[in-house]
Structure formats: C-alpha cells, structure tokens
C-alpha cells in the first residue's frame, strides 16, 4: 500500500528519485482544487459519521433503561406502520438519483445537456425540500398524538436524530446553491461537473445515513435488546 510504503521510506537518505511521486499526479490548479475539496469532503463526512455514530451508541445504551418505550412494536405506536417515513425516504432517494443525473449530464455547450442538468438540479431541490417538509409533518403528527420531545427517551432521540439529519441536508443544500451560483458567475463546466460529483457523494451519504436512522428508530424493543447485547450494553 502506498501509505505504508511512504511511512517506511528513509528520508535521511538524500536523493531526488521520489521527488515527483507525490506531486506529478497534481497537474494543474484545477486538479489541486478539486482534490482538496474532495479530501475536505471525505473528512467532513467522517466528522458527521462520528456524530451520528456516537448518538446511535448512546441511543442503544439508553434503550436498555426501564423508562424507554420504543416507537414501534404494538400497532398503536406511531412507527409500527411508518408510511410517512417511507414516503419521505422515497423523496430523499429521488433527490439522490436526480443529483446523480445532474452530475452525469454533459453541459458542454449542448442545450440538451444543459437543460437536462437544470431540470435534474431543480428536481434535487424539490425532492430535498419535500423530504424536509415531510419530516416536519412527522414531527407535527408525533406532537399532536402525544409523543412530545420530552415524553420518552425514544421520542427525544427521534427529534434529535431527524433534527441533526435535517440540518445536515440543509447544509448540503446551501453548498449546492453555492456551486450553482459559482457556475453562473464563472461558466466553468469542468469545475461544475467536479463539484456536482462531490454533491452526489453528499446526497448519497445523506440517503444512506437516513436509511440507517430509519431502521434504528423504527426497530422493535426486541431488536434493540439484541443489538445492545451484541454491543455489550
């Protein structure tokens, strides 16, 4: 592996044979910028992963306390049949697919390609907004049916998880708008495609995290018990 080879090198032996190794890959400013943004995005997603991971761990631990009542299980609980959440998930999936289309359409002076990309970006925005509105509706329904944020730890975690995930989506949305504005200003097709590819990663990541959260939040007490046992709680 490259990193191992690098860590095993002997820098005290002079010689310029490896001078170009780390550098030749980066041939121009644009590549440096794109690679930097990609690296920063990878690290940012790692940070977000740690946030969700830690809350999930505390959730699993908290789920084994006697006052914890899961939100799924018997039919009278709100997520025993989570239709609204499925609909919201579909919106997020569609947003993820449409941004994928936007990144793969070729806008190079072809009106067709450009039109397809604009349409795909509009759909991304629309579906992402629908997802957020859908989540807010779920919050409203939960509160209306007596599952307030401080009612039970399971409720608290639901609001916490979905709130942070919503903020994460909103942050991505702002980044996407910045990408579009930068394209309108500079009309740099290659940069746009590269940045959109990073947005695709972001949206796919959002979707995967949401699916994991969905599974976690709508599981039954028996499932929590099994996972907690496996984790040693």
């Amino acid at each position: 592996m490259n990193i191992i080879r690098q860590l095993l090198s002997k820098p005290w032996l002079s010689g310029d044979d490896d001078i170009t190794e780390s550098y030749n890959q980066m041939q121009c400013l644009r590549v440096v910028q794109t690679q930097s943004t990609k690296t920063a995005l990878v690290f940012f997603l790692m940070v977000v992963t740690v946030v969700f991971f830690l809350i999930s761990i505390t959730f699993l631990s908290r789920s084994q306390y006697p006052d914890f009542t899961a939100l799924a299980g018997p039919p009278w609980l709100p997520f025993s049949n989570p239709v609204t959440l499925w609909v919201n998930s579909a919106f997020l999936l569609l947003a993820s697919i449409s941004i994928g289309f936007a990144a793969t359409s070729k806008p190079n002076n072809e009106s067709v390609g450009q039109g397809r990309m604009v349409l795909a970006l509009c759909l991304t925005g629309l579906f992402s907004c629908l997802f957020l509105i859908g989540q807010l509706l779920v919050w409203q329904q939960l509160t209306a049916s007596g599952f307030a944020v401080n009612g039970n730890p399971a409720n608290s975690y639901f609001y916490l998880f979905t709130g942070i995930h919503g903020l994460h989506l909103a942050g991505g949305f702002i980044a996407l708008i910045r990408v579009v504005i930068s394209f309108v200003k500079h009309a740099d097709n290659e940069r746009l495609t590269a940045n959109l590819r990073l947005c695709v990663w972001y949206w796919h990541y959002l979707f995967i995290v949401w699916m994991l959260l969905f599974a976690l939040l709508t599981a039954t007490p028996a499932t929590y018990k099994t996972i907690a046992l496996l984790c040693g709680f």
Binding site: K10, P11, M26, Q27, A40, T58, S61, N150
Partner: protein, 581 residues
C-alpha cells in the same frame, strides 16, 4: 498548464481592513488566533491566581465565596484546555507553520480559514459574556457533569451553563472549519519533493492532532447538544429521576454516566490534541538547537500515529470511580499503560538527540529541555493514576491536579514558550531579548516545580480538589495549610513572572535586535522564504522544491552544519573546487 501551487494573488489584500482584519492570509489569521488565545489565557491565569489566594489564605478575601470559587475553577479549566491551548497550538501555530513548512502559498481554503477565526472569536465572546449574565458563569467544573451542571444550587445553572454549552458548540464548528483546512492543506498542497516522510515533526504532530480533533470534538458537540435538550426541552438523556431542593423534578431515568463516557471520549484525545503538536514542535526546536538530526525520525512519526490511535481507547481511565463495570477498568488500565510505550519512546529519542549534540543554550532550548523534565514527571504520575487500585484513593485529590497540570498544563506551555522564542524572529523580524527570556524561563521552570511538587504531597494526604475550604477534616493535618500558602506564593510569583514575557514580547516588537534571515540556521522550509518575515504569498515568484528531510544538521561532507530542505546535493556538498569548512 497553470502553475501548480494556488496563486496568492487571488486574494492579494489592499487596505488596512483587508490586510489585518478580514485577512485571508494564513499568517495574519494565525496571529489573530494567537492574540485572542493568549488574551483569554491571561483571563484564565488571573482566575487561577484568585483560586490560589482562597486556598492559600482562606477567609482573607471577602469577594471570593464558594460559588465564585467554583466558577473560577470551571472557567480556568475550560479556557486553558480548549480556548487557549487548542486554539493557540492548532489555530495559531498550525495556521502559521503549515503552509510555510510544506512550501505552499496559503491554506487550500483561505476563506474558510478566515471564517474559522471569526467563528472562534464569537465562541470566545459568548464564553466571556457568561461572566456578565445573571448568576455568572457555570461552576459545574470543567467536565460539566450532569445532573448537577444544570440543576439549581450549582452556580450559573440558569444562564452560565447555557452560554458555556453554546460557546463550546460554536468553538467546535470553528475548529472543524480550521481542521478540515489543516488536514487538506497537508495532504494536497505539499510542494514538489515534500513527501509525507520529509515533513518536519511539527507538521506530523499538527496533522495527527487535527485528525484527532476532527474525530473527538463531535463527542463534545453531541454531549453539549444533548445536555442543552435536557436543560431547555426537559428531555432525560443524562438526567436521572431526581429530587432537587425538596422537589421532585420531571426527569426520568437518564444516565449521567453516559455523559461521562461521551465527555471523556472527547476529553482524552483532547490531551493529545494539545500534546502532539507540542511533541512535534519540541522535536524541531531540540534538533535545531542541538545541531543534530532528530534521533529515530521514523520511530517518532510512528509514535505520533500510534499515540493518536491509542488515545481513542483509554478514555474511561478518567472514570474508575464512576461505578462502571470493573472489567472496563482492567481494559482501560491496560491500554493506558500501553500508550506509555510510544510516549516514553519519544522522550528517549529527545534525550538521544541531545546526546553528544552541539547544544546551543538558547532560550528556546532552555524551554525545550524544561519540557522534557516537566513532561517526564507528569507522565510518570500518569502511570500511577492509570492503575485502578492506585487511582481509587488518589481520585479527586490534589495529586490528580498536580499530575494533569504537569503533563498537559505546564508541559505544552513550556513548548509554546520554546516555540514563541524560536519562531518570533520569523513572524516579526526581531529577536526576543535573551536575558529577559532566560529570566522568564527560570522563574517559570523553578516556579512550576515549587507549585506542583508539593501539590502531589497534598494529594497523598487526601486533600480533595474543588473544595472552597477544607473545614475541620480529621485526616488532614494543619500543616497542609502552610503548604497551601507556600504553593500560593509560588503561583503568584510564576503568574507575575509571565509579565516578563509579555513585556519582552511588546518591547522586542519595537526595540528588539533585528533578526537576520534564518537566525537559528534551521533547515526547514519556513526559514527559507525569499523575504524574512515572509510576505503575502510566502514564496515570491517560485515555490520551493524539496530535496531532503528537515534534519540535515552537521552532516559530514556538507559545507555548513545545516542543509536546508530546498538545497540540492550539488549546492550543499563540499567539493574539491568550491568547498569550505
């Protein structure tokens, strides 16, 4: 093809505000970070003096009551650990040194870098605002443990704790912006020839510490958000069913231990977020001022990486008395002892670098050698506390206070002083006054021993920490009061001794000896800029190319006793034609 390095002209500043206030230049941002951090650090220093006055001379100061004492303890701890050390080491030195040491013109995201500083400043303002709200700042201790942190009876339980949690959340956002920049810049903007294993150890320390920060600060963020939920929305993440001041509260069944796990999952890597950059910087200072290559460079790099990895699996050694499963204690004691191996290895390597080196007793070298002493002593007491059976009686005594002040208070600060004396000529173009510097060193070095050595004995006697007054406690002899008074006198002298440093900084800025370029004859790239101090864009027309590692000191057959990283063999080797000794 465009030039490979990002071109600095993209954000060439014009006008006072663009140049010094809303600057995108990493060097200006570094100075902004440093000044802000030192300013809050001085506030924390004053708080510690107030604490010591109470402990050394109880009942003499009517303005210090039990509540304000706890507030001083809390704010001193949190400011020193997070707002001073983390910000100064990474925001200050990280920002200044990363682009210069890797041969870049700036950070890869200059705008984000600027945003990081201003967000940090907001977090500092929110923190300081808590001194002025009703009830004052929180007095929950720097660990902010629930349930007491948000319950009535704890100082600042209404507003202070809210501002503290908010400030921490803002700080973490600022750190994440800065941290993404540091990591990305090191990975993507290294100049030609600067392979990872040719980087100075300063950069390795900063690099790994930043990754630790990026992965550990989320734990603090999560715990801050969840505690805000508990306080503001009445959830019970951490709050158990509780009777407070004769009243049954609405909380049910939460787990305070859960908070402790989260907090220390951040808290222990935080020790290394502070220590690793210090390890790196001291390595460079020692090699430069001993005119010798660092002993075991690869080992030093691996040790930094290993310490970084291990720091994530030792956190519960802070929780031996929390009532967790005893088997956990066994596991965490083992990992804690393992982490001592790479750490000890680093100490040996510093000593072996000094061994038979051409040691120049400059002020940075004084502080670097002082660091080896304080760090070894602090580290050794850490081995005591890492063992469960020894920790149980010593937990929450002054022994712990003495230990962590030696290892993560005094030691990184010794390195910070070494670093400031070392890099001040680069930043300002002036030398700091040597006589004042040595005076500052001896007051600080001997003073810290006068403070913390006796503090260990207080701990052995069982004197508890965080107590406003000891009262009549049978097992604590009266003589402890004399020891406490002595510690206070020493602490006040050390505190006042720092005025020598502040005076030296201000005086030397205007009147200090003008520094020649590369006054320490160092090899690393930051000293090889065409102008000294480096100007905007750092490298003039052409970025440097690196041909060697950063430790070619006293290499036989070379023209001088140092060979900068950007010199080729033909430029540096003695030849029959043009060579001279």
């Amino acid at each position: 093809m465009k030039e490979i390095q990002p071109i600095a002209d993209d954000h060439q500043p014009s006008g006072f505000f663009a140049k010094y206030v809303w600057s995108l230049d990493h060097k200006v941002i570094a100075i902004q970070y440093s000044i802000t951090a030192i300013f809050v650090g001085l506030i924390a220093l004053v708080l510690s003096a107030l604490m010591r006055l109470q402990l050394g001379f109880p009942d003499h100061f009517s303005f210090i009551d039990p509540s304000s004492y706890l507030q001083y303890v809390t704010m001193h701890g949190i400011i020193m650990v997070i707002y001073l050390l983390t910000a100064l080491l990474l925001g200050g030195f990280g920002n200044y040194l990363i682009p210069l040491m890797i041969g870049a013109r700036d950070m890869v995201f200059p705008y984000l870098n600027m945003l990081s500083f201003w967000t940090y400043l907001v977090s500092v303002i929110v923190l300081i605002a808590s001194f002025f709200v009703t009830g004052g700042p929180t007095g929950a201790g720097w660990t902010l443990y629930p349930p007491q942190a948000i319950l009535q009876g704890t100082p600042g339980a209404d507003n202070g704790i809210l501002l503290m949690l908010l400030s921490l959340a803002i700080f973490i956002i600022a750190f994440t912006m800065g941290g993404l920049n540091y990591v990305t810049t090191i990975l993507q903007a290294r100049t030609r020839g600067m392979t990872l294993m040719r980087m100075p150890l300063t950069l390795w320390g900063i690099f790994i510490a930043t990754i630790l920060g990026l992965l550990a600060f989320p734990a603090l963020l999560v715990s801050a958000i969840m505690m805000l939920f508990d306080k503001l929305l009445g959830t019970s993440f951490f709050m158990p069913a509780i009777l407070s001041l004769g009243e049954n509260l609405d909380y049910t069944g939460g787990s305070p231990i859960l908070f402790q796990h989260l907090f220390w999952f951040f808290g222990h890597p935080e020790v290394y977020i502070v220590a690793l950059p210090a390890f790196g910087m001291v390595s460079d200072v020692i090699a430069t001022h001993a005119r010798k290559n660092i002993f075991g460079y690869r080992m030093m790099v691996w040790a930094i990486v290993a310490i970084g990895g291990l720091s994530f699996v030792v956190w519960a050694h802070h929780m031996y008395v929390s009532g967790m499963n005893p088997y956990f204690g066994f596991f965490f004691a083992t990992t804690t002892l393992i982490i001592a191996v790479p750490t000890a290895l680093k100490v040996y390597n510093w000593l072996l670098t000094l061994w038979r080196g051409n040691i120049h007793f400059t002020v940075p070298m004084f502080f670097a050698i002082g660091f080896i002493f304080t760090f070894t002593h602090g580290g050794l007491t850490g081995l005591f506390l890492g063992n469960v059976v020894v920790d149980l009686p010593l937990s929450d005594t002054f022994f712990v206070v003495a230990h962590f002040h030696m290892v993560m208070g005094v030691s990184p600060i010794m390195v910070l002083f070494a670093a400031i004396y070392h890099w001040f000529p680069l930043v300002t173009g002036r030398m700091l006054h040597t006589g004042l510097g040595k005076c500052h060193f001896w007051v600080t070095f001997l003073g810290t021993y006068a403070i913390y050595l006796p503090m260990h004995y207080l701990g052995f006697l069982g004197v508890p920490r965080r107590y406003f007054a000891l009262g009549d406690t049978d097992f604590i002899p009266d003589s402890t009061q004399a020891l406490n008074a002595g510690i206070t006198v020493a602490a006040l002298i050390v505190g006042l001794g720092q005025l020598i440093f502040i005076f030296n900084l201000i005086w030397s800025l205007r009147r200090g000896k003008v520094a020649v370029a590369n006054p320490w004859q160092a090899t690393s790239l930051e000293w090889q800029t065409p102008q000294s101090p480096p100007v905007h864009g750092n490298w003039g027309d052409k970025v440097p190319v690196v041909y060697r590692w950063a430790y070619d000191y006293s290499v036989p057959g070379h023209k001088t006793d140092f060979t900068p990283q950007n010199k080729t063999d033909s430029e540096s080797l003695l030849t029959d034609k043009g060579g001279q000794g």
